[in-house]
């Protein structure tokens, strides 16, 4: 992917003579560099990235942040379990109803969602791009048929379809990844299709056709490099929705693996009933973690979107 997006300059392929190649005396490379510079100085991008990096570190190496075991109850000196302890200097986020440390569970809880959602989103992006490009480039009856299929999948709320599929196929991580990937492929295909249609009408595609290039070459080496900005935006936006969907599935108990493992959605599901009894911390901290991750992804997605359009 990366050598394609670096542009056809790599590997001696002729530069596509697209309209955005020479704009105000800048080459595409310069424009990209400028976009990146703008992006890296946007406050939204910096804040969003900081949040994301924090959760990615938590997911990869939680022991850097906390050395408390998320699955074992905290005990005092006499060995008795300290349950439902409100947040304090000892346990920053308090302890839950069986005495486990909420801070440690919140940090460790980043892992499951940050494994499942990026994989699912990447699969959906690859599949959606392939389908969308062929729909938009070839048009015709294949496009008509696939468009109807895309529309039907979109007309059932993602979460309902996911419940139906995960319920029938079993609560395992591969099923959840496959379901999210399958449900996100149509909307990505629709966006890519629209972009491919717009690109196909530009002169550089027409001239490539005149040169007698094969369709595969035109799609992969001419159109694809010109829509990479859109794909990056689509990847981040869909990642946000994937987090939404996977967190909700976990909250509903439709999740793979051990339910005593730290997981934000499961922890909220197990503890929210105690909010009314004023034990709010085992629920609110994982809930805020989900919210912050979504906000971080949204901020990054929006900044990239603006940078590619500027």
């Amino acid at each position: 992917m990366s050598d394609v997006s670096a542009g056809p300059a790599v590997g001696g392929v002729p530069e596509p003579d697209g309209p955005d190649e020479v704009v105000q005396g800048g080459t595409r490379k310069q424009i990209r560099k400028e976009q990146r510079r703008v992006l890296f100085t946007t406050p939204g991008f910096i804040v969003g990235m900081a949040i994301l990096v924090f959760w990615v570190v938590s997911a990869i190496a939680p022991e850097l942040i906390t050395d408390t075991d998320p699955k074992l109850p905290v005990r005092d000196d006499s060995g008795s379990v300290i349950a439902r302890e409100s947040p304090s200097g000892e346990a920053w986020f308090g302890t839950d109803s069986i005495g486990r440390d909420v801070f440690s569970r919140t940090i460790h809880g980043a892992r499951p969602i940050l494994i499942v959602t990026p994989i699912a989103t990447l699969i959906a992006l690859v599949a959606g791009t392939l389908i969308g490009l062929s729909m938009g480039y070839f048009r015709g009856w294949v496009d008509e048929v696939l468009s109807r299929l895309v529309e039907s999948v979109l007309s059932i709320p993602t979460i309902l379809m996911a419940i139906l599929v995960v319920f029938t196929f079993g609560k395992t991580d591969p099923v959840i990844i496959g379901t999210i990937a399958l449900l996100f492929t149509p909307p990505i295909a629709r966006t890519v299709r629209a972009a491919a249609i717009a690109e196909s009408q530009l002169d550089y595609v027409t001239s490539a056709k005149m040169r007698g290039e094969r369709s595969l070459f035109i799609i992969s080496r001419e159109i694809l490099p010109n829509i990479t900005g859109l794909l990056v935006v689509e990847l981040t936006v869909r990642l946000g929705y994937a987090i939404f969907a996977v967190a909700t599935l976990a909250f509903l108990g439709l999740v793979g693996g051990d339910i005593t493992d730290p997981d934000w959605g499961i922890d909220v599901a197990n503890n929210w009933g105690r909010i009314v009894g004023e034990v709010w911390w085992p629920t609110i901290f994982p809930a805020l973690a989900i919210a912050s991750l979504v906000i971080g992804v949204n901020l990054v997605a929006d900044s990239i979107d603006r940078a590619t359009k500027s």
Binding site: I156, W280, I290, D302
Partner: protein
């Protein structure tokens, strides 16, 4: 217009057929014995047989598809597995009525707020007001409803008596008591959807304000209020109508987490309960009803757009 309606209606029917095929195929392509999955691992052989019988799993896929199609058009999805004597449609209808109330009340709060917010942002484009509206809306959108729900529950419902923990008022409550109970879930809907609808309205308004007819109107010396009323509204709100149409289906069935947190027996919770009790007919019926609502909502939205803007009728006949 008649041709446009017919064509649009035909497309909806095709979409419905594809959904029916997908929903029919799901249990058939699932690995292992679908009846055992649906009935649960400990089900007796008689129970398995009755599950197979009632879902028609022994029939060919084509027969199953035919049966399901018939159920959609007669709105008869058979009997519930777990609630003896209850039909699927009876359960779904009760839940649908509950969902309709919650969605209607949420829209009454959401639409004026987010449309006004979007128009204000467009009018004050690039000011701090614009940035605040756009950025808060963006940050809050796509936060899962159950997350916003539990946060509101702990910061509003627990300390303040006025806000109720459960969204479902006791039977026979007055209109206002019912609204009082639905206030927090409606807040959640506003939180989650405000940004999206305000953004779409903002974009539509900016385009309409930039258009020649608005410039001309301003230059003629017409007051801002009248420019908005006579020229901007009708044009700016078309994308908003389309988005509200597509979001309606999601609001009806997709707010499972919200309905669970506020213990509200709407469609989402009914479908979720069906999952937990392995009541597959209710699950399937509920999903199909939500799909039908979604299609009806997008159909109506498209017709409203066509009515607002005659050009849209031509465009959709050209491309689809």
């Amino acid at each position: 217009m008649a041709r446009f309606i017919l064509r649009r209606f035909g497309l909806s029917l095709i979409t419905l057929m594809i959904i029916l095929v997908i929903v029919t195929l799901i249990p058939n392509i699932a690995p292992g014995d679908p009846a055992r999955k649906i009935a649960g691992g400990t089900a007796s052989p008689e129970r398995l047989a009755s599950v197979r019988e009632s879902l028609g799993l022994d029939d060919s896929v084509a027969t199953q598809l035919g049966d399901l199609t018939r159920s959609v058009f007669t709105l008869d999805f058979g009997d519930s597995f777990t609630k003896p004597g209850e039909t699927v449609m009876g359960l779904v209808r009760a839940a649908l009525w509950k969902s309709t109330k919650l969605v209607a009340f949420s829209l009454v709060m959401l639409l004026p707020l987010s449309i006004a917010g979007g128009m204000l942002a467009a009018y004050k484009k690039d000011s701090w007001i614009d940035r605040t509206i756009v950025n808060t809306g963006l940050a809050l959108s796509s936060i899962p409803e159950f997350v916003a729900g539990v946060i509101f529950l702990s910061v509003l419902a627990v300390p303040i008596d006025f806000f109720k923990v459960g969204a479902n008022a006791p039977d026979g409550s007055s209109f206002f008591t019912q609204l009082q109970h639905m206030l927090l879930p409606a807040f959640v809907v506003v939180t989650v959807y405000f940004g999206y609808i305000a953004r779409v309205t903002r974009a539509g308004t900016i385009a309409a304000l930039d258009a020649d007819y608005s410039r001309t109107a301003f230059m003629k010396g017409i007051s801002t209020r009248d420019v908005f009323r006579r020229h901007v509204f009708r044009n700016a709100l078309q994308p908003t109508v389309a988005v509200v149409g597509t979001q309606l289906g999601y609001m009806f069935g997709g707010m499972v987490g919200l309905e669970i947190v506020f213990n509200y027996p709407g469609l989402g919770k009914t479908i979720f309960n069906a999952v937990n009790s392995a009541d597959y007919p209710v699950l399937r019926g509920g999903v199909l009803v939500v799909a039908i609502i979604y299609m009806a909502a997008t159909l109506v939205a498209d017709l409203i757009i066509a009515w607002m803007n005659p050009r849209a009728r031509l465009v959709s006949e050209g491309t689809s």
